[in-house]
Symmetry: D2
Subunit: 459 residues, 4 copies
């Protein structure tokens, strides 16, 4: 049996290649489909089927491109309101076989109406399910979001509950292969572990300990961010995204040419690491460290303007381009040759963003003119414990709060470790605020130092 996990790092998205030695299926391909073609070629295996377990909001599907390039057939669940021209509609219990490997469909709606799970059997050793690809229904330690149909919130939470119960009937011994892992925007409570089983989740997943009503209540009480690009992904995936023959060709560009592109409306995307951005920031740039791009880029980047990249290292280029393409940003026109050194030696303005450790933060907060402490974590993180004087605005939404911050003498941004705080600080700087500082280490350091936290839920 062939079973490869192919992950998209920042998205914390897992896709799978599953089959026997000669033929296989791909489950939930991302848009840079060369990865699946290469993996199949290495395995000497033909891709003949593609499954989408559900409508995707957080990335653009590669199903259509993969089908076009391999002749594979795309299958997906039914959704009255979401007709996907490039796919066939799968029915409950529909079975597909490759040699002694068998895949069977389960309809598991709730996260979306068209959500399916795919049960894996290895007939060489028995008829029991050996695993199940659960899409966004069941994760390691969490379950899928159920907030995509706000006017049917209670109904879909119930649907998800019932789908999860259906998954439990597969038996404790089935291994769970979810579409996302820890770090995904598609859930917040996922465990930092790749694998789990139905039985383990039945016994330990907090959401699976609740009865139907309690489950619905819990889901209604959840708050998830809905980044602005979700709607765009959803539309693109419905109609079939524009074909992508290959990754965009990103040519190097001089600082001068880059500056001209910016004047003509391009966006400068500064992908250096957080400390480097703070050390010497470029005010006009959208600053998101490259390893945070998948999670936070979509909050700041526009999709109707070309993107010019500024990278720490040219070896990062390919992974950055893959991430952008997965999010539907195809117009990556250029990368600044020589990176920051070229930028600064061309006498372009740069300025530091002030930074402080938690000890200095504590001193300043205790001073007579304390700064505004802006905690940019997710609402549930904030609620689970914060510094007393902190004001909460989610990192992706600082633009909405900027007007109310203009009068502040100084703003210190704060998050779990300092990394999101830096993104927020750079965004505020770009929006015209001058005295912005970032707190390195943030809450994790604050706690390590033994400083007091307010509003922490008892654990």
């Amino acid at each position: 049996m062939l079973l490869n996990t192919i992950s998209s790092k920042g998205l914390a998205h897992h896709s799978y290649l599953v089959g026997d030695q000669a033929e296989c299926a791909v489950i939930d391909p991302s848009r840079d489909v060369d990865r699946y073609l290469d993996a199949a070629a290495a395995a000497g295996c033909r891709i003949s089927l593609v499954f989408e377990t559900h409508r995707n909001e957080d990335y653009i599907s590669g199903a259509q491109d993969l089908a076009r390039r391999t002749g594979a057939v795309v299958w997906r669940g039914e959704s009255p309101a979401y007709n996907v021209p490039y796919a066939r509609v799968i029915s409950e219990g529909q079975a597909f076989g490759f040699g002694d490997v068998r895949l069977t469909t389960l309809r598991t709606p709730g996260h979306t109406d068209d959500s399916i799970s795919i049960v894996l059997r290895h007939l060489a050793t028995g008829d029991d399910p050996i695993g199940v690809f659960t899409g966004d229904a069941l994760f390691v330690g969490d379950v899928g979001r159920a907030d995509f149909y706000p006017d049917r919130a209670r109904e879909v939470a119930g649907l998800l509950h019932d789908s999860l119960q259906k998954l439990l009937t597969l038996g404790d011994s089935a291994i769970v292969y979810p579409a996302h892992g820890a770090g995904s925007v598609c859930g917040s409570g996922m465990a930092r572990r790749e694998l789990t089983t139905i039985g383990y989740e039945r016994a330990n997943n907090p959401k699976l300990q609740l009865d139907r009503d309690a489950f619905i209540q819990a889901k209604l009480g959840e708050h998830h961010e809905m980044p602005p690009y979700f709607r765009r992904m959803e539309q693109a995936n419905a109609h079939g995204p524009s074909p992508l023959e290959r990754l965009p060709d990103v040519q190097a560009t001089t600082v001068n040419a880059a500056s001209e592109a910016l004047e003509r409306g391009a966006q400068l995307l500064d992908l250096r690491n957080d400390q480097a951005i703070a050390g010497a920031s470029i005010r006009e740039a959208i600053a998101v460290p490259s390893d945070m791009l998948a999670s936070f880029g979509g909050w700041f980047l526009r999709d109707d303007r070309p993107i010019v990249l500024l990278l720490d290292r040219s070896s990062d280029l390919q992974e950055v381009v893959r991430t952008l393409v997965r999010l539907g940003y195809d117009d990556v026109s250029a990368s600044v040759a020589g990176g920051f050194e070229a930028w600064s030696t061309a006498a372009r303005p740069v300025q530091p963003i002030d930074g402080l450790d938690v000890h200095e933060l504590k001193r300043r907060l205790a001073s007579r003119e304390p700064p505004v402490l802006l905690d940019v974590r997710a609402p549930d993180e904030f609620e689970s414990g914060h510094i007393e004087s902190a004001r909460h605005v989610y990192v992706g939404r600082v633009a909405e709060a900027v007007d109310s911050l203009r009068t502040a003498r100084q703003i210190v941004t704060f998050c779990g470790t300092g990394r999101r705080a830096l993104i927020a600080a750079a965004a505020l700087r770009r929006l015209g605020l001058d005295d912005v500082a970032v707190c390195w280490g943030s809450m994790k350091a604050w706690k390590a130092a033994g400083y007091p936290v307010t509003g922490a839920k008892p654990q």
Copy 2:
């Protein structure tokens, strides 16, 4: 949680790196320990513990070297007759923790007296076992051999049965991480799949469907090959194998220098692929295609003489050297520069080994002077169906049969696919038989052609 599988291909051996983000254990390291050090460095994780799940017969353990290079402590199970100076003896239920990862020992004797399993928990999500490292007790679709204590055969089969029952108590939902996969000499019925769970094996593993007596009877009825190097591995692993600072440096050598080395007693190891060996064979060489070296090299190579390599491609060198070192062949002195082309253009004698497809085999067997058909598969493969006139000798034991074959007009070697048949044919040629041919495709082709098979067990 960090959980990496690091496999040794030909041995079908799996070792594991398991821990949290800062610290980890290695379970059953092979002797080329740089792999674990590199994986730990990539993960930014310190190796502080090493476990051996059992005494190893099929490869040399890297536990001692890994401990020496990292400061880690080696732990292993107790065995009265097998005192390992470099390790501490673990006790039942002994627990080790890395952050929220917990490892606990289970004594699971039977395969060997010192066999242990290691239960994995992820306290971040619950107290239930999420997995278990089963060593050579439980495999995917099979259980361990129990033939290493011939005078206690019944007793150890019973011990293995009880150990497996003990593993079943971990619950259906625990994932099984075995020390071997399909292709290993440590079992014959393993499924071609990496993962399984306790529950799946409980319900589907043929050996776990038997009661204690039937299990013992079944184990007593098994026949496993006991290659000559097993005893050597066992001894080396007991006393602590000689330290290996790094992989041996293998220099290129000219054909002339190689020939001189052979005259001084070195062994020429021809690692070309099977068809190439047949196309132009070197009579004096031990011929084992590189991807079969781990399984069959130990049957033919002596450990008291230097080895000179002849490779298809110089890029294979490192993997070949790793495989040899894992088997305790450290004296790999040289590799013939230019490979076969250099050998043949130096006017060294080469000859083809005749080859035939199954259609030609059928014709020859039906002729008036049919060849001797030598089936070199494992006994249980032979017993599950063979060509009527075939004579059985296991590929590793053809030297023992060579005298009885000298009178044969022609010998055709035969196996499952032709690959072991080629090794046998080359071995017979080396032992002085001239008219030896190999049947390409062998039993798989014979069946595909619809030709008759004798003695097949009903399925």
Copy 3:
């Protein structure tokens, strides 16, 4: 200064990336242009110019595709009869600059009418030429062919002479960067060394020791093979080859599906190594070991039929596809999953091709019924020394000789090392001859054994 050599192995073709840190030119790109884009991205350098030093016969140019994907301008020399729509015509002495790097054109016709050389200067250190890209005018130890205009043979030989004299005026210290190295079909006397200088060639290149008349006479006396695909390349390069968005997607295929494809007209291309092809040959396949594909594939493959690959290792796939695409074979539809093992275990017919070493060849030639010895080397190799009884037919032309060979009892093919002999033997077998054998080691072994050679030119 940036100066990267990007070579196409089998073609022994060199292309170059040359520029400064921000911008560069590509000289003589092959059709798989991703290599140049990747190299430029790694260097953080924009490709803004593409040069073709001459009309290419031995591969398809990537100039047009590279221009399309980068916005670069293509420049090439003038040729009245060869109008290339995608390029601008360069004039003598035209200069291009990147920072302190300067490129200047020299018209150097002879190999082709449009041949140019490009002189490299590094103004940071001086005005003298530091190197020159000589295309197919001057090689290491040889000069270009001058046989592409048969009715103007004397004239173009003279043109080439004059162009070489012009190159000599650049001064002894200029480094020579040719478009081809040893092994190319574009010359036969190239030295096995990457680099040379104008001065070294002036003093040591045999062709540069001749006066104009002697040079012309020598060129007229040369014999070069003109493979059937040269004309096709020439045409494609003139009109602009069809755009190649990316390398073809080659899916794995089962033996059955491959067989069906062959019945519908596809060509099976057996790329295993020479000894493997001999050990178990597939009669219907075109057999060319993968590392000889660039030099010999074009003699045997048709460009109007799909190609199905049979590979030793799936890791060879990409390099094979690149080679085929460079030769204009874009319709590479599939690769047999499982390679030879799959083929043979599917009970498809295979047969060995007999092989003998030179000692056995000597015995057979001395026997009463000696085989026909077919020497398939190039004419000049044959003329420089052969076995007395040998008959000469070039490896690429055995099909033309097959009828005259049908009466032979046995044919033994023979070349420099046995490698081309195997290709010839397989081709003859495919054309219906049964008793064909290959001589391993061939002339190099024959000489090493001290056996007599006829017709050797005194050295």
Copy 4:
């Protein structure tokens, strides 16, 4: 002919593998000799000779280790005062051959007494020198330092002159293969280009345009830095450095364990990039960005204390360890797991180093209380043009100047691009100065902005 350049990036050091297909020599190996063994294995080539072109001050030689691991013989030039036990003394004109490749020695003293050059011939194509390995005698655009024997300064400058004249007799067409390229501490005027020829240097190298007296005068007038570790390298290379079985094993370590190591005397080496160090600096660390480590690490690191690494990315680890080992820092005990994020979230103190662009620098310099502008470039760079008010102290020597700087209100460090300025700023901070800032872009930006420069030599 085999000719591979194997470079050590930061050192800008070139070593060479040269030979034919079966056997080769290594010229000037660095201490991480696995690179040569791997390259030779890939080429299928035996290493039988090792040459040292001169006594090395800037790195530890790998000659002894390479000889030990391959059986090769080490050859080097004669020096009365520098007896190297592991090498044989080569004599003028001594010749070594591999097939048609010939290496011949030229004594070329001056840089050191034992300096030799090695002339390369390819007899297959002619008797003329095709190249010459010039060690530290002749570089691309520069010649070697002649300041290692201060009391014989005039004499050795003359020796170097004569050696260079001797090299010129090899003829214009010989290609030059030097031991160093641009960026090396062994010369300051090297061109940013890999290759050159004797003829090109004869005509364009500024030093080769001078007569003997002028040459000596010029060399006497040069100023080169003599880092503190030169003497250490010299000694180690004389006696034979301690054998290095393999690269040191660097284990990950927690922040706590690292802190304990620091308390016991270990040095924390902060290898993040310059902007990151500025953004959040760790006062107690020696801060040198990883790509500057080879050039500047030796100025700050002690060789009698363990080193703990703090890296941007764990993938940098191997290259960093190689660089340290080349400089003789073998005691690399650990690397901080999780890097800066781990450090800051453990509530360890961090502080920014202030940064300014050249526009802000200009404003501050014009203010009433201008900062001290500390230009840390090499003396000749400073002399070729600086900002009027700048004070000069070389980056490696800021510790010597720190006392005189304690009274300054603010110090702004300044160099060519800002990169060395950051190293200097961090060093000053570590030495107790608080108000230190770095000027991003430094002189290159200053000039790009059109701001005035003093003392610039007319060009």
